[in-house]
Symmetry: D2
Subunit: 271 residues, 4 copies
């Protein structure tokens, strides 16, 4: 998406585009709920970790960080959250997490999980301070969040333990457990629920149909968000699986709210 | 806010306005977290309800409905959610709530709570079907969500039990417990945490300062959302209370993300 | 109950007695579930506390401490638990709480709640270290857990703020908020759900009937636990309220398990 | 354990035995916390199920059922519980689960998990009613809980899909997904956390040492529970892993409680 925006700003986007990654059904479902499940699955499959009683630092409290933190808390871990954005930080507090800087908790935690989309969130200085057996992994942007290169120095020994699991051994014998060499953990080590995949794929298909069918001039050579109504349609197609029964507005209610009975039901900025 | 938009559309808004009600710190904090606490408080203070084991219908799964549902589930209630918007409906499902039409569960629930912002969500037909002792209350728009007028008929007896609590008695002896006569329950019956109030008041104050200080032409006679940077500033002012430690971007990270180290950290549509 | 056991050991108990306080329906329902609800209610009614983001020390992780900790965690507080019993301590860890000594966290917490049944759990040295505004209260044994007498010294000023709330003011202006003068908070400041009361009262009534009807010689002048079958009967009487449907053993299943179809279903030591 | 009790009753137990299976550290840790984690792990590894929004029937609400229900609820499933014991049934209600008979919910659920220790809990009549794709598995007693033999009839087709997963296909095309052919799911399909294993192994080792060292006459040819003090010792050995800090009784407190400072801290019946 960043690439598309760059092209657009540079005047080099030659067709209209819809940024489905930032649609509500993608952000709030794939990122949040999918990660809530796959973080547990991935950690079991790779490092066979017991979650109860463990201390974990989750870096970043966007949708991915929210999903990971909620899952680990639900399984009995004590979770610390790091954030740069004060709004997400305040959400973490109200959701019952201690907001800390990584440097202040890195000595005590059993696990560090990055979910920021940023680079060099976990650096060598942090890893030097970690305790023996600390697990380090990434659920955010591939390769960049953990400075894995800083671990490729002569005094550290790498031991490949099994698929997606390396032990990095310090001269004093301390080991950290690096998962998937810092690549995205759930893509490397778990499956994606077919249901969430279906949501994402439907979003993409509807975006293409919308662009194809749109009357001349509705979309220019720019990057758009998925129209709210299509976002809602994606969701409605996925309710049946849960035997979920949607309520219909009465005529009187639709009029009172100033809405069509068939949506969209929310302003475009609503999330 | 609806009123402001009407005025604006009609060309009759004579000054710029900022819609602080839809700022993130208002929507995601006051509405969600405040209601999560005040629904419990209000129900205890008025009807002295035990939450464990109770079946509850929550109508609407916006921020208010999310807060009420989460709190009641956490206290051991079985919560059914009703929704008209398929996106919010799907969130309810993924959060572990059965999505139902009110008519399909109204016979079995011990409590109905409206959080829709709509009108006539609970009507006489529903109340005729409720079981003896069912509690009915509103956390959404004052007076409109429960059709209280439909209960003012000769065959029903009203008994005022204590402040904010009326029993409506059917000819066969069945009673429903109506709280605050359908007005907003937490405004009638609980206090608002001073902390959440402070968030809301700060948002309003900063919006006024922004409008006052803005250079000529930045705002026209229209309705605006609070600039993201101010939204973030409100949040940052409230982190100290929690002894929460925000992480600062390094220069390298800010450059990588294309962000200022001082925010805003998210695009304006991010919520 | 302690008194009864003393009398019994001293050979001075002149009638048989049943210790209903330690029956499962009392311990696991009144203590756990009732406190889970009444701690929230009591804190709102007295000190009007917002739970989200607050740091709380809960002293003791028996049924009362489990109820208080679960409720506060569910409402977004960060809870630290103190314990003397390693089994309960390990449960606290597995349930996701940091196990700490009070002295190690008392400077940072916003609230301290005692649930130990012991004496002098919170002493003057702790209170000298608390931060301004810290709330101190007791859900365990009346009067003994917080050393309130240690606060009645000339250099501290007591300010009675409202019913059940005193501010104790240090010479430097620091205040702690003492609730119910250290007596049991939920008995002073909240109601008890009629449902839980019914469980407890039924237990007591059935114990009396059992003692009255028991054939000569079944009970000596000693202290007994409620027979498991009666404990189960109490529970079964309270299921209807929840529209709960119990499954009956088939003849084949009862035989396989070596059980009567009508209970008791568990050995007497099962809890 | 059943076998030991049989031998003992028949006068054929030729040595003393300690029933470590019913010690607190086994029941409350291995059964509860281990199952809370391994049910999720097993279901992901075998059937790759998304938990969010799914309806699940959990049969039995002992420690295993409590662990499974809590985990699935935490991950966003809607859980129905079946029970024969009214005390456990009431706990399920207060914990926020609908208590139902299997026959009443079997048409609607996406999954059935047995945790009863009983036989023929899920029978052919139930499976005939299940919807297409329903997953059936067992976390309780091996082989007996699901009547798998009833599925070996000519009109049903078995399709072995992968290790531990069979599809049973009805003549109309409906499939149910049977895991581990009804054997214990987590033993077949997940690992056991080394930590929980350590608790269980320590319990067994200490029981053997106790029997070996006990003075003549302390234990007869009978089945005993692990002495509370040893149970507590097992727990204390496992606290360090969590960096957990136990509080020590002061002399004054020990005297007040009538306890040794070194335990046991609870009466033997306490759980």
């Amino acid at each position: 998406v960043g690439g598309l925006h760059h092209l657009s700003k540079a005047g080099r986007l030659c067709v209209p585009a819809i940024n489905v990654n930032d649609s509500v059904t993608k952000q709030k479902f794939d990122n949040l709920y999918c990660c809530r499940e796959s973080i547990l699955d991935s950690l079991k499959k790779t490092a066979d970790i017991m979650f109860g009683g463990k201390q974990v630092a989750v870096c970043g409290y966007g949708e991915v960080g929210k999903g990971c933190s909620a899952a680990l808390k639900a399984m009995g871990s004590v979770v610390y959250v790091t954030e740069i954005d004060p709004i997400c930080a305040l959400q973490a507090c109200m959701d019952g997490f201690r907001l800390a800087k990584l440097g202040d908790v890195v000595r005590q935690v059993d696990m560090v999980i990055t979910c920021t989309g940023n680079k060099n969130v976990v650096v060598r200085e942090h890893m030097d301070l970690m305790k023996n057996g600390c697990v380090v992994c990434n659920m955010g942007r591939s390769n960049t969040e953990i400075d894995v290169n800083s671990l490729r120095t002569p005094e550290l020994v790498w031991q490949h333990v099994r698929a997606q699991v390396d032990h990095i051994i310090w001269p004093d014998g301390k080991r950290i457990v690096l998962l998937a060499e810092g690549r995205v953990l759930n893509l490397s080590s778990s499956t994606v629920p077919i249901y969430v995949l279906s949501i994402t794929a439907t979003t993409q298909a509807l975006a293409l149909i919308e662009l194809f069918n749109a009357p001349e001039g509705r979309y220019k050579q720019d990057v758009y968000l998925l129209p709210k109504k299509l976002d809602e349609y994606v969701a409605s197609l996925h309710l049946q699986t849960f035997d979920a029964h949607l309520t219909e507005l009465t005529d009187e209610q639709a009029k009172y709210m100033g809405l069509s009975k068939y949506g969209p039901f929310k302003p475009s900025y609503y999330r």
